[in-house]
Amino acid sequence: MRKFWTLLIREVRGYFHSPIAYVVLVFFLLVSGVDFYFQVSFMNQRPASYTVQEAFFNSVFFWFAFVLIFPLITMRLFAEEFKLGTIEPLMTAPVRDLQVVLSKFFGALVFYIVLWIPTLLYFAIFQKITHEPAANSAGAYWGSYLMLLLLGMFYLSVGCFASVVTKNQIVAAVISFCAITLLFFMGLIQFILLDVSSGARDALGYFSAIEHMGTFSRGIIDTRPMVFYLSMTAFVLTLTYQAFQSRKWRL
């Protein structure tokens, strides 16, 4: 367990040692800040049937920033170690492959969570200034941030996998960007192709991040997407673990 913590702390520190972390942070705060501002000013112009919090988590801006950050967060994880050769001292130390894979995943997750913390301020500031609640209930906050966490875990695991199969960070970023975009749009197919069978529609519905976020941001905690995202994360991490182990045979 101590080795896992040691690795995890290095991973998290590694983010804040690299300029890319700050670029991502600034980019993300900018886009989400603009998103929040637009939603509020938009709702000022006409009456809306939804809350600021719902609008914030379901806007185009939000999704645009959302799918972009994962490749940036995960591209360096393994690819950089392969490229620099630091994988050699790392894997000749007495650590297990699984510890390394999990520490990289959770390191990325910690950074992802840090990325979202400032957005809590938006709602606090909104309430402070307007003396109006930003959401209908506390459950709406819980729901939307829980969905963020679940989606984040899944997409981060996809990013981990992309990074483990190449030693070129750019290639890793492109792979994860394509994969995440595909996964994201898979959930949209049901809105575009209206004549698909209801079975296919249900299956595609499981990938629909937009729909899930819609539900969760209203404070409705559905266990089906929870189970789906958690098991998909576990599945992709297992693939990552296998791919990581296979490096020994590819050398």
Binding site: R10, M91, A93, L251
Partner: protein
């Protein structure tokens, strides 16, 4: 400490090492010698648990490097070739991290890291970013990393490559001192280094062991063991003919330089003909300016072993 049996490693389409077998005993400093691409790094990587062999077995302190990889790895300190390091960490921070990773107990980390910084002369750069260090300091950080967990066995892949002569001397001294407590396997192609530090040498060529012995025995084996150089003014005498009469002298070559002539001769191994030459010179009234016996170096051994079927090899 290390036991290697019939180790073979094939990469796609080529065999890096074939059928290696050797043992390294406790407290030995084993030199691993060979031209580029001979399979040194491959062997060391297998021993360090970084990649598996295609066939054969290797064990460290009785633990199989593949089956019981964790136990084997926790007993060794490995310094890879070119020393890959995290450039965004500071020296102390990196060593603390490596110590924790290698299972040095929490309360001993500071002490151990302090010790290896002292040993490797890293105190003046301890706050620096590794990315800003010179090649020599990076090398020392790699060595400090290998030492931090007080491993029984050190595997050092070209520890002195890229260092200046002073640094090479320092590292060599360090390795010699370390050899008192650790077993060391080091690879290099700097031959005097092996002669000065190692208790035994393995010469590997094209993935096979060509020789495995102490440096002294290897030197003894080589044919051109003795070469004597004489620089003399021989006047009217034919120096070559006269020198050839001395028993044990094989082959004499000469190079005139004004009045002086330099004779270089091969002598049967184990013989010292210098006294005879001196007597000859005295009897003939030659003026001697130089009379020396050149010892065969490991370089000669190395060239002889690896040269035969590979003429373009450089060392």
């Amino acid at each position: 400490m290390i036991k290697v049996e019939n180790l073979t490693k094939r990469y796609a389409g080529q065999t890096a090492i074939r059928d290696l077998s050797f043992e390294v005993g406790q407290g030995e400093i084993m030199g691993f010698l060979g031209p580029n691409g001979a399979g040194k790094t491959t062997t060391m990587r297998i021993l360090a648990g970084f990649m598996p062999a295609t066939s054969g077995r290797a064990s460290i302190a009785g633990f199989d490097v593949f089956e019981q990889s964790l136990q084997a790895r926790s007993r060794l300190g490995y310094m890879p070739e070119n020393v890959p390091l995290y450039n965004d960490m500071r020296v102390t921070e990196y060593l603390d991290y490596r110590a924790a990773l290698k299972g040095v107990p929490h309360r001993r980390v500071a002490e151990r890291v302090g010790d290896v910084k002292e040993l490797c002369g890293l105190h003046e750069v301890e706050r620096k970013l590794i990315g800003n260090l010179s090649k020599g300091y990076r090398q020392r950080v790699g060595l400090a990393d290998a030492l931090v967990s007080e491993p029984d066995l050190l595997i050092l892949d070209e520890p002195t490559i890229g260092l200046d002569p002073n640094q090479i001397r320092q590292v060599r001294e360090l390795i010699k001192n370390l050899g008192k407590q650790h077993t060391i396997l080091l690879s290099t192609h700097i031959l005097p280094e092996v002669e000065m530090t190692c208790s035994r040498v393995i010469i590997i060529h094209k993935g096979r062991i060509q020789a495995c012995d102490t440096p002294e025995n290897l030197l003894g084996q080589i044919r051109q063991a003795g070469r004597v150089v004489v620089e003399a003014k021989t006047g009217k005498d034919d120096g070559v003919e006269e020198l050839k009469k001395i028993s044990g002298v094989r082959e004499v070559t000469t190079k005139p330089e004004g009045d002086w002539e330099t004779f270089s001769m091969r002598v049967e191994s184990g013989l010292d003909v210098r006294e005879e030459i001196f007597k000859l010179a005295a009897a003939r009234k030659w003026t001697l300016r130089e009379l020396s016996q050149q010892r065969a170096t490991l370089e000669d051994v190395f060239v002889e072993i690896t040269h035969s079927d590979h003429p373009e090899i450089s060392i």
